[in-house]
């Protein structure tokens, strides 16, 4: 009897802590995951406000202005989509550090130069709207003292492992790139959604436009 009681007591003492530890661990895990996600979204939400300020300042001063003192990137352009009435600021470089805060421009081809300027953004934050873009939509990109106009000519899915875009590519244009599929959970997959736009014109960005940018 004593044997059984001891065992019984042992079990009763041991049983709840395991379940409880597990529960607590799960809750903690949940919390850290929530925090990581929250951090990503918070960065994505907060950074553009600072970046916009820096962009306006850089437009006024014709100089590189860092959005916060320790930033290793700075805004170089502003992308606008009239049909969706939205704008996105674009940072220099498309490394992970830059893309955490805003869309980023690959350094190879400057906007307006011959070739294709590539701007990348995260599918779950800044470039989520890429799925809503349609062939024929117009885009504009303010870069330095120019506003460059583009028209979307194609939307394709590409594979980052071979780097090929199966579309007719314009001589001068813009590639907006984000990960694909849009609703996938795990980052790092090889799919890329690419919006191809050809340059249809450019104009000098007047002081009025810059002022306009300042007001916004």
């Amino acid at each position: 009897m004593g044997m059984i009681l001891t065992a019984e007591h042992a079990m009763r003492r041991r049983r709840p802590p395991i379940a409880r530890y597990l529960t607590v661990a799960l809750l903690l895990g949940s919390l850290t995951q929530f925090a990581s996600a929250g951090l990503v979204y918070a960065k994505a939400w907060l950074a553009p406000l600072l970046i916009e300020r820096a962009f306006i300042a850089s437009q006024q001063r014709h100089a590189v202005v860092r959005p916060w003192p320790w930033a290793d990137t700075w805004p170089v352009a502003r992308l606008q989509v009239p049909r969706l009435s939205l704008q996105r600021h674009v940072l220099a470089g498309d490394s992970g550090e830059a893309l955490a805060f805003a869309a980023g421009m690959a350094p190879q081809v400057r906007p307006g130069d011959p070739g294709l300027t590539m701007i990348s953004g995260h599918r779950d934050t800044h470039f989520r709207f890429l799925s809503k873009l349609q062939v024929g939509d117009t885009l504009s990109l303010d870069h330095e003292d120019q506003r460059i106009h583009y028209r979307i000519t194609d939307r394709v899915v590409a594979d980052a492992r071979d780097g090929l875009i199966d579309a007719v590519l314009p001589a001068r244009g813009l590639l907006l790139v984000t990960c694909y599929p849009f609703d996938a959970l795990v980052p790092g997959g090889p799919g890329r959604f690419v919006v191809v736009a050809e340059q249809i014109g450019n104009e000098a960005l007047s002081l009025v436009d810059r002022g306009d940018a300042m007001l916004r």
Partner: protein, 732 residues
């Protein structure tokens, strides 16, 4: 002891009864399954059809080019046009070859499988030397002949017919090798065929006859700044598009860019083909042949009484590479000279061919200064860049220690390897070889500054002990540019003493550019379409470079004659002299006297001009060669209007398609009902075989936030579940 345990085996500490345990296990399984399912979807082939929304699925392209490593790709289109609505194109090429001229008919059927009336637009590549003499519209059994009209007028006739609902077709020339076919009012579910007739010259070089017919076009690079066409300083009014319909906008360098830039589709590797082509060739060489072959296709060869009948052995092939037919006469039957004649509108036209002498002794080798110009632009990606690099390596291997050399590499910028041409010692050659090996192809094709740099490279020191070396430029490219005019103009002005040789790379090089640049640079053109051709073609090129040329050529025709090409170009060994002449005067027969200089010696030969002949196509070919000469004046800066005023009457008289004249065919009675509208569709060309799409290095395009969120929710869910289970089980 209400808590007396159910009897358990010793050591078992699992807190729940078995029913709950199973329930829990099932829940965990389902949660993990859901999570993994998501993970799988995101890591799977991005183009797996199930992943994309069904309405976006326009075409799943399963073909994998030589270069691509990815799986099937998916094209997404915003419009609702589905694959069923795409126009289907079917082509048939019929060739009748006898002597040095071939007559060709390209019959293209545009089938409209959709529910609405459509207008088709198709960028049609044709041999750049062809005289396009007729276009006709075929509806069922009926044939409606096209008329040659002035370009703008033809456009008006066609537009009016399209608006009126009449079935009609328009054939416009954009470049010597590029045309646009438009077919209006194709009824739903029906088809319209367009037949284009032409005469094309057969090449005869190094004892081999050949004929090259393009089937697709390498998408050209359009340099320059976007520019409204009307304000363009280089605007050639009659060449301009009336509507911007291509994927490129007009630039100051290429005012007609929209007309040269058609959509492209991947080449299908299995049936059904994207753009199927069938072939029927009647070859009547008139001499015993040793060999009949096609460079990039396999042929079914049928021997007939008078010659051969050729077809593709597969029946139909994809239109993704040039068709190159070649036939070689038996050694002792090689023709040395020939004369063909035709009477057209009461006038006599003649075509003569004569093979100049061949060097009987090897000639002493001359020192050379070789400048290699290599195109590493995006259109060269894939097989082309590998072949181009092999060609350059071959050229470097031919250099002797006393030669000088340099290397210019370009895409949208250019780089000159050495500031000044260097002696071809081992160190310099090694450096060049390493540099070439490190190259990869991408970005644009700014050919003008690169060619300009190559032409103006500082010539090596003049105080050499011997005579200055022969300066030779070898230009390795696919010629995929839209600014041929600018480039030719540059060559006309700056070629100097240098000779320019072109090496055309790829399955569908710009044949016009290759031949015209080489002609302008007094060199020759060779073509490399696959790796196995690198060494024979390069060997041929260097044989040309080494051999002395036949120069100062002159042809005296009996009576007076207007002959083309004029002036007569110098000839390389193995090249025949070909002249086309319009003869006038009373003399019906006589002798053609040819003189020239070969290896510093005067050379003369005579040919009998027979009384008359009946060889179709001679007159049209004469007119076409005359037109070539007139259009070349544009490169020398003669105003377009002046050239046009002379070219237009010629093209109209001989019924030739030209930059200033188009063919238009219109059915008399309207077909399209009043209420129905007609919508425009572009028929894509097939991307040249072996050519890769441009490659990009993509950034990472997703954060971990959604995964974090999902994991957070999953953990939270499990925690809640555990709490509830524990409460019920243990602490109730």
């Amino acid at each position: 002891m209400e808590m007396l345990p159910t009897m358990k085996r010793p050591g078992e500490v699992w807190p729940w009864p078995s029913r709950r345990r199973w329930l829990f296990a099932a829940l965990v399984l389902i949660a993990t399954g859901l999570l993994l399912g998501k993970v799988d979807a995101s890591n799977a082939q991005p183009a797996a059809p199930g992943v994309a929304p069904a309405q976006e699925l326009a075409a799943v392209d399963k073909s994998i080019g030589e270069e691509t490593v990815g799986g099937p790709r998916l094209r997404l289109h915003g419009s609702s046009a589905s694959i069923q609505d795409a126009l289907q194109l079917e082509s048939r090429l019929e060739l009748q070859i006898s002597g040095l001229l071939a007559s060709a008919t390209l019959l293209q059927t545009f089938h409209n499988p959709g529910q609405e009336w459509v207008e088709a637009e198709y960028l049609l590549p044709l041999p750049h030397e062809a005289a396009v003499t007729q276009m006709e519209l075929r509806v069922g059994e009926r044939v409606i002949l096209g008329e040659i009209r002035e370009r703008a007028e033809a456009r008006q006739v066609y537009d009016a017919a399209r608006r009126a609902g009449k079935r009609s077709a328009l054939l416009e020339q954009q470049r010597p090798h590029l045309f646009t076919t438009r077919v209006a009012n194709i009824p739903p579910g029906e088809e319209i065929a367009v037949a284009v007739h032409m005469v094309l010259p057969v090449r005869y070089e190094d004892g081999e006859f050949s004929l090259r017919f393009p089937t697709t076009v390498t998408a050209p690079y359009i340099p320059g700044f976007p520019h409204p066409p009307a304000q363009s300083p280089l605007a050639m009014p009659t060449w301009l598009p009336l509507d911007g319909s291509g994927w490129a906008t007009a630039t100051q360098a290429v005012p007609d860019a929209p007309l040269l830039t058609a959509p492209q589709q991947r080449s299908a590797t299995e049936t059904p083909l994207e753009n199927p082509l069938s072939l029927k060739v009647e070859l009547r060489p008139g001499i015993p042949l040793a060999e009949v072959d096609a460079r990039y296709h396999t042929l079914a060869i049928d021997r007939r009484d008078e010659g051969f009948e050729l077809a593709f052995s597969e029946g139909t092939v994809e239109m993704d590479r040039d068709l190159v037919l070649s036939w070689r006469p038996q050694e002792r039957h090689r023709p040395q000279a020939a004369v063909f004649q035709e009477t057209f509108e009461g006038e006599r036209y003649a075509m003569m061919m004569l093979l100049p002498p061949v060097a009987d002794a090897p000639v002493p080798r001359q020192r050379r200064e070789l400048v290699l110009v290599l195109d590493v632009s995006g259109s060269m990606q894939g097989a082309p860049i590998r072949q181009a690099k092999q060609a350059v390596a071959f050229a470097l291997d031919t250099l002797q220690p006393e030669d000088y050399f340099n290397l210019v590499v370009f895409n949208d910028r250019h780089r000159v390897l050495f500031g000044q041409s260097r002696l071809a010692d081992e160190a310099a050659l090694d450096e060049a070889r390493r540099f070439v090996a490190s190259l990869s192809a991408d970005r644009g094709t700014e050919m003008l500054p690169a060619l300009s740099a190559a032409l103006s490279l500082s010539v090596i020191d003049a105080d050499l002990e011997s005579a200055s070396p022969l300066r030779q430029l070898i230009f390795v490219t696919d010629g995929a540019v839209g600014n041929e005019h600018e480039l030719m103009a540059l060559l006309e002005r700056h070629r100097g003493d240098a000779r320019l040789f072109t090496v055309g790379i790829g399955s569908a090089p710009n044949n016009y550019f290759m031949h015209e640049a080489a002609r302008s640079g007094r060199g020759s053109a060779v073509f490399i379409g696959q790796a196995s051709e690198v060494s024979p073609q390069m060997r041929r090129l260097f044989a040309d470079i080494q051999q002395p040329m036949v120069t100062n050529l002159n042809v005296d025709w009996p009576g007076s004659a207007e002959a083309y090409p004029a002036p007569i170009p110098d000839l390389y060994a193995g090249q025949p002299l070909i002249q086309l002449a319009r003869l006038s005067g009373p003399l019906r027969e006589g002798r053609i006297r040819v003189t020239g200089t070969f290896a510093d010696r005067h050379w003369e030969q005579q040919l009998a001009l027979p009384r008359e002949g009946d060889d179709a196509g001679v007159a049209a070919t004469w007119a076409r060669r005359k037109l070539d000469g007139l259009l070349r004046e544009l490169h020398r800066g003669i105003p377009t209007e002046e050239v046009r005023s002379r070219a237009l009457p010629l093209a109209l008289k001989f019924s030739l398609a030209s930059p200033f004249t188009s063919f238009v065919a219109v059915e008399q009675e309207p077909r399209r009902p009043e209420g129905a509208s007609v919508s425009g569709r572009k028929v894509p060309n097939t991307r040249p075989q072996g050519q890769a799409a441009q490659r990009f290095a993509f950034a990472q395009g997703a954060t971990s936030a959604p995964l974090n969120l999902a994991l957070a929710l999953a953990c939270l869910g499990l925690a809640v579940l555990m709490l509830r289970l524990q409460r019920r089980d243990s602490w109730v």
